[in-house]
């Protein structure tokens, strides 16, 4: 207990904090400039000086730790004079171009001078001139306005961990400079922009387009890009988004954002947006009316249902749509169309892995708080780069590294290059062998845990088979670290799930999770992969993850939904596509999904979908898939509708409507209109009504309301009941022997700046990463005789592409990476896939690649 006196007010502190913090707790405001709550104290601006009894000089409140018996004064004649003087100092070289500066109105220097500063300056000499050293396309720098508070540098180094900027020069020549010469060679998180108190760092996305006080409204909502679900604030003027800003300390991201979240909002105002329904007439998509389009869909689906049964109809839901959309979608599929053929693109990784883990370890095993990663002693990262796939989750890993945690990377992870303790580079496609060996060794050392007999049995079988391959450099160190770690987290990307024997890696990870009592995190590329599973958009489960095969559950839902749910499990994603090809599926309803672009084997998939009798696509853009559809319906996008999303840690969050648009309809509304026309009543006036129904029927959402959700701490199972089933037997592993002959393998790049459909229509993100490049490791480049920027042609069995080479030092194995996030044919068009028999996820094949320099 510490008791100190500030301005005659006695303050008692639980733990030692700075005087500034103590004053804040007592409601006493001390002016600050270089201090920012998100970064470490600096003590440079000297504005927060206070008088402390028995201390000779004035002290800076931001760096002084409160001590028992301290007597502090925050205001006095002297202090005011110092503050006035400091502000005058700051202004001698400040350009005072407030009428022109975008920061005016929310500028901390402006506010401080107004409150504490001099009205007239005495500096008569010429001000420093600092020409802009280079022009960046995203960040506008004006170093004449810079007050060298170094908040941006501290943010970049100590929080973001990008270390892209520094203060160069000294004294009056001090200025923030990026280390690269051409432009900011950084992660474009823009968190420096958040903390800049003046107009020294601004975003070109909105420069000179509005004044901070000229916004019509600010809406607190959730980002739409990845499975983290960061909170952010959207500022709207004239029904268009002016900018996206974070709120410090707010949401699970605590006010930090990544490039996509902060700068990727422009797609919503893209001229490519679908505005009216389209109907195929004489082989061409033509503009139509809602009533015509909806009637055609209802008639056609009814006809097919009658002729071929509900099982000839299938639906693909979307992890970009809300829980409400997905819930209504699966209900429509099951009740109106009479089919359980519902799946989504999440089958390619997240849904498959999630189901495997929940089957083996129990429901909710992946529901772990992202922030908790910080406190792990050891973090095992595999199957992708978390700092690119889920950037804000990646920051927690970096924070853990700074706190001394051991970060172990299996494979490549560019964003963790400077943070990892150990990296293992197993042979490509043989990661499961390494994991098997690791599991066997650890189980030998730890002994049988004996809680889940199926896993114990699975491990025993593995060790009897003496499975695995520990012949990878660093194996013993990895084992020792894991064995001695008091708390371990495993962060799994989907890369190693997408193998024909991906379930082997999943079992090994499940086994490690079980033996090490680790926390498991699944990286999720889309914002609602978890929510869509919980909403029931899977062929074998009803909302709440209740298996269709258990009759009691099915009957309960039938009672609530007034009708019969088809008996058998439906088809998974790739079975649906095969079904379309084989004419087993006649009609396919796609909600916000683009399989032709987003799945491996573009031409195969396109052909399959073309074989359908009837294809409906609802989306916000005329996607590659929509182009071959029979009916296309314009949906609403992010900020245009309200709905809930469940992130990868299973936090249910509310995405709010921020702008009013005249075109398009919410996905759930379109579907309920079709349903009504098909004779199955759905009467929802707003999305809230759907959540009310979900709260009634889904055991996971019990009593959940929008009000509760808006507080931001609805973590699963929030009042709900998990299902603690236990399987008796782990599915038998099937071993696939890949015999590859080529020297290089093609892999899917997951870039930080892109996510696909949305990002390729966001001009700012395209400026950061304008066109796809073939990413090659340094060793491979040497072997191939390639230099940065060389044009190459690369071939797989399926096709070829041309691209420029980009050498990436962080790629340690013989993989080359190409992205699938740009207009035109991406990496998926060059690949094919097999299906993992256990998880039904695609095992990406056809990755052998030949590279030819042009």
């Amino acid at each position: 207990m510490i008791t100190l006196t500030i301005n005659d007010k006695e303050i008692t502190l639980e733990k030692p904090v700075t005087v500034l913090e103590a004053a804040k707790q007592a409601g006493i405001k001390i002016p600050t400039l270089c201090y920012h709550e998100a970064v470490k104290p600096f003590g440079g601006c000297r504005l927060c000086v206070v008088e402390v009894e028995r201390m000779p000089r004035l002290q800076t409140a931001c760096t002084l730790t409160a001590a028992d018996g301290m007597i502090v004064r925050t205001e006095s004649e002297t202090i005011s004079r110092v503050r006035r003087g400091i502000l005058e100092f700051l202004l001698i070289n400040h350009p005072l171009d407030c009428p022109y500066c975008d920061k005016a109105g929310e500028c901390e220097l402006q506010d401080l001078v107004k409150k504490y500063g001099p009205t007239v300056g005495r500096f008569k000499e010429e001000k420093r001139r600092v020409p802009e050293s280079h022009k960046d396309q995203i960040l506008a720098r004006n170093m004449e306005r810079c007050v060298v508070c170094t908040r941006c540098v501290r943010m970049c180094n100590d929080v973001q961990g990008a270390s892209a900027i520094s203060i160069m020069g000294r004294a009056g020549y001090s200025r923030m400079e990026p280390f690269s010469s051409a432009s900011f060679n950084c992660e474009y998180c823009g968190n420096c922009l958040t903390v800049c108190p003046v107009g020294a760092i601004l975003s070109r996305l909105y420069i000179h387009s509005f004044r901070p006080w000229q916004v019509d409204r600010e809406v607190e909502t959730v980002c739409s890009y990845c499975g983290v679900g960061c909170s952010l604030v959207v500022q709207v003027r004239d029904e268009s988004i002016k900018r996206v800003i974070p709120k410090i300390g707010f949401g699970l991201n605590k006010g930090l954002l990544c490039s996509r979240g902060r700068f990727g909002y422009e797609y919503i105002n893209s001229p490519d947006r679908l505005k009216t329904p389209l109907v195929r007439k004489n082989g061409k998509l033509e503009e139509s009316t809602w009533s015509e389009a909806l009637t055609i869909i209802a008639d056609k689906l009814t006809k097919i249902k009658k002729a071929d049964g509900g099982s000839a109809i299938a639906g693909i839901a979307s992890p970009r749509c809300s829980n409400e959309d997905n819930y209504v979608f699966q209900k429509f599929m099951r009740m109106a169309c009479g089919t359980n053929n519902i799946d989504s693109i999440s089958r390619t990784g997240f849904a498959a892995a999630q189901k495997y883990f929940e089957d083996v370890l129990g429901q909710g095993i992946t529901a772990n708080i992202i922030e908790g990663l910080k406190n792990s002693e050891t973090i095992l990262v595999l199957g992708g780069d978390p700092t690119a796939i889920n950037p804000i989750l990646g920051l927690s890993i970096r924070e853990a590294a700074r706190r001394g945690a051991k970060i172990i990377v299996l494979g490549n992870a560019k964003g963790l290059e400077r943070f990892k303790t150990l990296q293992l580079v197993p042979e490509v496609f043989k990661e499961a062998d390494l994991l098997d060996a690791l599991l066997v060794e650890i189980s030998h050392a730890k002994g049988v845990r004996g809680e889940i007999s199926a896993i114990d049995k699975g491990i025993r079988m593995l060790s009897e088979k003496s499975a695995g391959n520990k012949n990878v450099q660093g194996f013993d160190e990895l084992k020792n670290i894991l064995m001695s770690s008091p708390s371990t987290s495993i962060v799994l990307g989907m890369d190693i799930v997408q193998r024909t024997d991906g379930h082997r890696a999943l079992f090994a990870i499940a086994g490690l999770t079980y033996l090490l009592e680790a926390r498991l995190y699944l990286l999720s590329e889309k914002p609602n992969e978890q929510g869509l599973i919980d909403a029931g958009c899977v062929p074998d489960m009803l909302p709440g993850g209740r298996p269709l095969s258990i009759h009691d559950f099915k009957r309960k839902f039938e009672d609530l939904w007034n009708g019969a749910i088809p008996e058998d499990d439906g088809m998974t994603l790739f079975e649906i596509i095969e079904g379309a090809r084989g004419n087993k599926i006649k009609a396919l309803y796609l909600m916000g999904e683009n399989p032709v672009f987003n799945l491996p084997g573009k031409f195969y998939i396109k052909e399959s979908l073309k074989a359908l009798d009837f294809l409906v696509v609802q989306d916000i853009f005329l996607t590659e898939t929509a182009e071959i559809a029979d009916v296309v319906l314009p949906a609403l996008g992010w900020t245009e509708k309200t709905g809930t999303y469940t992130n990868l840690e299973r936090r249910i969050q509310l995405q709010k409507k921020a702008v009013e648009v005249s075109h398009g309809m919410e996905d759930w509304r379109i579907i309920s209109e079709v349903s009504n026309k098909m004779g199955y009543r759905m009467d929802y006036a707003e999305s809230k009504d759907i959540m009310d129904e979900m709260a009634k029927v889904s055991p996971l959402y019990r009593d959940l309301t929008y009000r509760e959700i808006s507080y931001g701490n609805c973590l699963w199972p929030y009042l709900g009941e998990p299902l603690r089933g236990e399987i008796s037997e782990v599915p038998e592993a099937s071993y696939v022997a890949n015999q590859y002959k080529e020297d290089f393998y093609l892999s899917v790049e997951k870039p930080l700046y892109h996510s696909g459909t949305l990002s390729r229509r966001s001009p700012a993100l395209l400026k950061m990463y304008p066109e796809p490049a073939l990413k090659v490791g340094a060793k491979s480049a040497e072997k191939l005789g390639l230099n940065e920027g060389d044009r190459v042609q690369f071939f797989t069995q399926t096709g070829s592409r041309e691209a420029a080479v980009s050498i990436d030092e962080s790629i340690k194995d013989n993989r080359v990476y190409f992205s699938n996030n740009f207009q035109g044919d991406g990496v998926y068009s060059l690949m094919t896939c097999n299906i993992d028999k256990v998880t039904k996820a695609p095992g990406i094949e056809g990755c052998e690649v030949k590279i030819k320099k042009l």
Binding site: G44, R46, R57, L58, I92, V148, A171, G172
Partner: protein, 420 residues
Amino acid sequence: MEKFLLKNIENPNSADVNEYVKAGGYKNLSKALDMQPKDILEEVKKAGLRGRGGAGFPTGMKWSFAVADPKFPKYLLCNADEGEPGTFKDRPILEKNPHLLIEGMAISGYTLGSEYGYIYLRGEYPYAKDVLNKAIQQAYEKNYLGDNILGKGKRFHLAVYQGAGAYICGEETALIESIEGRKGQPRNKPPFPVNAGAWSMPTIVNNVETLSNLPYVLEIGGEAYSKIGSKDCPGPKLFSVSGCVEKPGVYELPMGTSLKDIIYKHAGGTRNGKKLKAVIPGGISTPVLPAENIDCAMDFVAMQKAGSMLGSGAVIVMDESVCMVKVTYRALKFFEHESCGKCVPCREGTEWLRKVLHRIENGQGREGDIELLTDVTWIMSGKTFCPLGDGAAGVVTGMLKYFRNEFEEHIKNGSCKFVS
């Protein structure tokens, strides 16, 4: 007085290990290794040795803080970033008598339980770097450094780290930042370096001259050492005398020698017998003393009483031909250039002061400029992050205290009457 720090310095091969040993070198290291570290510390305390870098902090006390910290490894850093105008006292040791420093550091390392030492050398001393590196190599060869010093089972490793030419790196926390590979800027204190310095480990930063006194303390014993020179801060002291004197140079004299004696008895008096105007007694950041105030003892305590500071003992002598406004301007130009830019008062204040002084010196001073200077220095002094800003402000304040009339004349006449 017999010279110790500059002993043997006339010998052209003084930097060679054999010559050093011939003159009795390294025997104190051997003696030290046979003693208990706590006994050596006791001797240092008894000797009353105070830091020679400028602040005059009792070395024994600083060391006992570091010894009390249970963390290992501990680092011993030698501050050889001698960069203040007027100061060149360490240079003869670094260039002519490097083994004295190495011996001092080895003894200190043993006393402190530190096995790793660095000499943080000023960027502008390339010659000293070569000398030191060679000397260190010789010391390793002769087993004065290494894993088993003189076969007595003690370890001490030493390396030279050269700065990039920043005055601020003489401030110990900035020095540590620099040695860790970052930009040299002072750190927040606490934690103090003795508890969390280089790489967050207990770190002792001592001046070249301080560490070079260690062999002497051991040679004659703390008791005898404490009797040399001033009572409060005993020992030999190096004074670097420059400016308008007949014989500028480095003088080893007992602490407390009078400033007047240093100038007139040792440095040969003012050049060409011109009238003395003022003396900056301890390097440019110490306040100026007018000619009539120079009859005072040069030690930490007496100089404070005289209204200035001993600083590094760098005596800058100015005669009647020197323009004090120009001296002030030149000093501020230095401080502006060397301000690290971390804190506002120093970064902006030095620039403002320099600009105003430039104006006055060039005959464009305005009425109110002296008040402006006074006010700007008030905002700076005591409010900057580290003492660099205080020093800059102190120069102006000191000059205005004794030579205000010169500033006034400049402003009134619109010109400088001194021809330079």
